[in-house]
Amino acid sequence: MALFLDPVSGLLSLQRELERAFENPSGLDLGVSGRGVFPLVNIFSEPDGYIVRLEIPGVSPEDLHIETQGRTLTIKGNRERRGPEGAGFHRRERDSGEFSRSLQLPDSLDLMRGEASYKNGILTIRVPKREEAKPRQITVKVT
């Protein structure tokens, strides 16, 4: 069910798809840091692997650390609050501080070949499937 997003109602379609996956999780067990730990995660599949996406606005890339060990992917970092000295806060709705989240991903993924990018506050980690896990044709030899 790959998403095709048309410019007019694309956003609404995407929101509905995301909500559907929220209500019917595919049975993916992420391990100890289950649901609802900061930062929240969305996981998508594409033909060659998975894409793990997290919304972590306002972090310097130097403050983001991504580690893999076996099947576990860990995202750690620090969100610092910036502000002028001697200011009184009217509102503080944004969280700040250290965070760490570990996700257990399926065995079919090759975490060692994962690649991460950070843009506009969204961390995207692309993890390809292991070669053995990819569908392969076996040609039939006629003897």
């Binding site: 997003l5 956003l11 919304e55």
Partner: protein
């Protein structure tokens, strides 16, 4: 002590007003603070590029808006989700006198940082109160 406050309108998910395109709109979380010279605001709008941000101050209402890009979601199938995405919009009533021409806006890593300098009249008024 004179109090100048930004008062938010609306709830977490923006309801009761329609945008021209269908889809849920969200209100970004904000930090707001005040110094003697300016009001500062930071809004979390992950997924919004600096070119997709709009900031407006007119008739005492500050509105901040950001549009997310859908390109990064094409041809992907959601497997597991914990958050939804959408465009951002939030409005505040600003009772302070702001020097509109000198508002500074910066968008970095999905965070909008706004500096709203107080107008000379607002700063002068404050000094008068302190010495009387």
């Amino acid at each position: 002590m004179a109090e100048k406050e930004l008062i938010p309108k609306g709830k977490q998910e923006l309801e009761g007003e329609e945008q021209t395109r269908p889809g849920r709109t969200y209100m970004p979380d904000v930090d707001i603070c005040e110094t003697a010279d300016s009001l500062w605001l930071w809004a979390d709008m992950p997924g919004v590029d600096e070119k997709a941000v709009e900031v407006n101050l007119a008739e005492g209402v500050l509105s901040i808006a950001g549009a997310v890009s859908l390109k990064e979601y094409e041809n992907l199938a959601p497997v597991y989700t914990e958050y939804n995405i959408g465009n951002y919009l939030r409005r505040f009533t600003v009772s302070e006198d702001i020097d509109v021409d000198n508002i500074k806006a910066r968008m970095t890593n999905g965070v909008l940082e706004l500096e709203l300098p107080k107008s000379a009249r607002a700063k002068l008024r404050r000094i008068n109160i302190a010495t009387s």
